[in-house]
């Protein structure tokens, strides 16, 4: 194309005009941008890939149903490569360049604390869809994952009744593991038990030999694992290789979230207890329809829809429900609509936003690892995020902005 002066002036004028009127002037036909910021490679990709798949399906379903407010939704994917610096960069890019209506993302608590201030500063709505240690109190953020009061509180007495009162905790060495292990300690003590030791491991540790010997010396009734990421899978391998799986059982707040129960052989992890909001084998109509749709989209051999994948799927649906109610994608209007206590009928059961904490009221289940499957043993309906509710009230203090940490 030849650019003469007249064409150049016309083009420039059009661009300048567009800039002056802003994007909202002709936005009706433009798609709504939604950002996904997840680790699709690196040590945390075991968590990130299923989350993005679930988000992709949620967006495609919404678009097939006519989009939101008559507009299509455009999902913009950022791969943070298990690298914290990229979180800052991509959060800024999503907020400033792509001007997204909402960011869904963050996997580890460390990554959430990296992007939370960025999205606060640039006034971009943020959904954190991972089960985590609880306590985040920030009006710009919604947390759709389960927290310790919903899971640890149920699993501790269940495991103690089954195995005994003495617990040894191994946890990942960053805010998630540090805080979650304190919750484990709190509930174990409240149930009349004893935590003999809590050991922390950086995410790249792969040699657990000395720890396994130390655990044997401590002779606990069971081990609690809050280990995170690909490198820590070797703990379960070495545990089984040392022949410990049969003598000391294990419960976990993180196992199977990255499909570890499929990566490992049944011999290395059968009998382990976990507690989450979602399991693929839950029996209800919404879930059966979801699993069929998911397998149709990603193949029937898809290993397992994880807790985090479902958190992300439900997070998107909650946001979409908020947008429908607000009849706008404006950040404040959507927050106010979500704060009316919106509910969805999700594959995991009924999920309701708790207005005071921006967390969710939802069902949880205890399950057991059994031959690469998760067998549900016990159900708890409609659990409130009471850990965060004890410290956080965004109705009374809408400007509160911090993560509360458990004190024992």
């Amino acid at each position: 194309m030849k650019v003469n002066r007249r064409k150049f002036v016309q083009g420039t004028a059009a661009t300048v005009a567009a800039g002056m009127f802003g994007s909202s002037a002709w936005a009706a036909d433009e798609p709504i941008n939604v950002a996904s910021i997840h680790d699709l490679s690196g040590g945390l990709d075991i968590y990130g890939k299923p989350m993005v798949d679930a988000l992709t399906l949620a967006v495609e379903e919404a678009n097939a149903a006519g989009g939101l407010l008559g507009r299509q939704i455009k999902l913009i994917n950022y791969d943070t490569q298990s690298n914290m610096q990229l979180y800052t960069q991509f959060a800024q890019q999503a907020a400033l360049k792509d001007k997204v209506a909402v960011v869904h993302g963050g996997i580890t608590s460390a990554s959430r604390e990296v992007i939370r201030p960025v999205l606060d500063k640039f006034k971009t709505l943020y959904f954190y869809n991972t089960q985590y240690e609880g306590g985040v109190c920030d009006r710009n953020q919604f947390d759709t994952g389960v927290t310790p009061a919903q899971t640890v509180e149920k699993l501790v007495p269940h495991a103690m009744k089954k195995w005994g009162k003495k617990v040894y905790v191994v946890a990942a060495d960053y805010n998630y593991g540090q805080i979650t292990s304190q919750w484990v300690k709190k509930y174990v003590t409240e149930n009349g038990g004893e935590v003999s030791s809590i050991d922390f491991f950086p995410l790249d540790v792969t040699n657990f030999g000395p720890t396994i010997s130390k655990i044997q010396a401590a002779k606990p009734d069971f081990v609690w694992s809050a280990l995170v990421g690909g490198a820590h899978i070797s703990f379960y391998r070495q545990w089984a290789a040392a022949g410990m799986r049969k003598s000391i059982p294990m419960a976990s707040t993180t196992f199977a979230v990255g499909n570890e129960h499929i990566v490992l052989s049944p011999d290395e992890c059968n009998g382990m207890l976990v507690c989450y909001n979602y399991f693929q084998d839950l029996k209800n109509k919404t879930n059966e329809a979801f699993v069929t749709a998911f397998h149709k989209r990603f193949g029937a051999d898809y290993p397992n829809v994880t807790e985090l994948a479902m958190g992300t799927y439900q997070g998107f649906q909650l946001w979409a429900e908020g947008v429908k109610k607000a009849k706008s994608i404006d950040r404040m209007k959507v927050i106010e609509a979500l704060e009316t206590g919106i509910s969805i009928d999700a594959p995991s059961g009924k999920v309701t936003i708790d207005p005071a904490t921006h967390h969710c009221v939802l069902d949880v289940h205890i399950a057991e690892v059994s031959d690469k499957k998760l067998k549900v043993l016990e159900d708890f309906a409609q659990q409130k995020p009471s850990d965060t509710a004890a410290v956080c009230d965004l109705i009374k203090n809408p400007t509160d902005n911090q993560q509360y940490v458990i004190k024992i």
Partner: protein
């Protein structure tokens, strides 16, 4: 008592794994004064070679003890002929070149295998020591290290190949005058060093799993061991492994794995301050 035995096995295991991951580097560095920054990636490739071979139906022992060293040894010879050969005596240039090679290998394996942890279950089951249990594979790793060190000693000390290698190492020009072909000795030595690294990576793969950037976790430790050991290949590697492995493992037992690593690094700093030439600069000077 049984706990002491268990502790001793863990310490021996730490020593053995340090010696395994360092000996390939020690040979390449000690013989040729080449600082191979792609050493960690040789270990990583060994791990992948073993896992890929096992998942394609090769017996796990053959995969670890034969396939992995062969594959990585061949890669080592190719690397020597295409890159290292032109840079002998130019230490900084070899460091740059091998660093580039390291980045290239990480990128290549990420492209082929993806950036995920893969692993195989450790064979051999477990056994009982009094009230404790530990993995039989731990003893296997210790045995491999012992056999390997004895083998290297025998080759260097008693064979013609070892004599030629030691001669070339001491004075390449004199060896050439006596009819040895130093470039060929270098190529073979580099290949053997790489093969040993591949073997170590494969043997440790069932314990730690493998991912493209795992070399980073190994390379620092192996450099510390080689530098701490000093000029003699075998006695240096062994003595430094014993020292650092024991300190690391005991500190890990008493505190946490984090402080175990800190203790290892602190010991290395103190050692290099007291013995700038490494352990074999002062002790075992006549060792191999």
């Amino acid at each position: 008592m049984d706990f002491v035995v268990l502790l001793a096995i863990q310490v021996l295991y730490a020593v053995a794994s340090l010696a395994l991951i360092s000996v390939g580097l020690a040979i390449i560095f000690g013989m040729m004064r080449v600082i191979n920054l792609a050493h960690g990636e040789f270990l990583m490739l060994g791990g992948y070679a073993a896992i890929v071979a096992t998942s394609n139906g090769v017996n796990i022992w053959i995969a670890m003890l034969v396939v992995a060293p062969l594959v990585v040894g061949l890669i080592g010879i190719v690397v020597e002929m295409t890159i290292i050969r032109f840079l002998y005596g130019r230490m900084v240039d070899t460091m740059l070149a091998t660093w580039g090679l390291s980045l290239f290998l990480v990128g290549l394996t990420t492209a082929i295998f993806g950036n995920t942890t893969v692993g195989i279950s450790a064979p051999l089951g477990s056994f009982q020591i009094g009230a404790y249990r530990t993995s039989g594979y731990t003893l296997f790793v210790i045995a491999v290290a012992v056999v390997l060190m004895a083998g290297i000693f025998a080759v260097l000390r008693f064979t013609r190949l070892g004599l030629i290698a030691r001669g070339t190492m001491q004075n390449a020009n004199m060896a050439a005058a006596l009819g040895v072909n130093p470039p060929r000795v270098y190529a073979v030595t580099f290949g053997i060093g790489a093969a040993l690294s591949g073997l170590a990576g494969a043997v440790l793969a069932p314990v730690s799993g493998v991912f493209p950037t795992i070399g980073v976790a190994y390379v620092a430790k192996s450099f510390i061991t080689v530098i701490g050991g000093g000029a003699a290949i075998l006695s240096g590697t062994v003595s430094a492994s014993v020292l650092f492995g024991t300190i690391n493992q005991i500190a890990t037992f008493l505190t946490t794995p984090v402080f175990g690593e800190v203790a290892l690094l602190a010991a290395a700093i103190v050692l290099i301050r007291l013995l700038p030439q490494g352990i074999t600069g002062r002790f075992f000077r006549r060792g191999l």
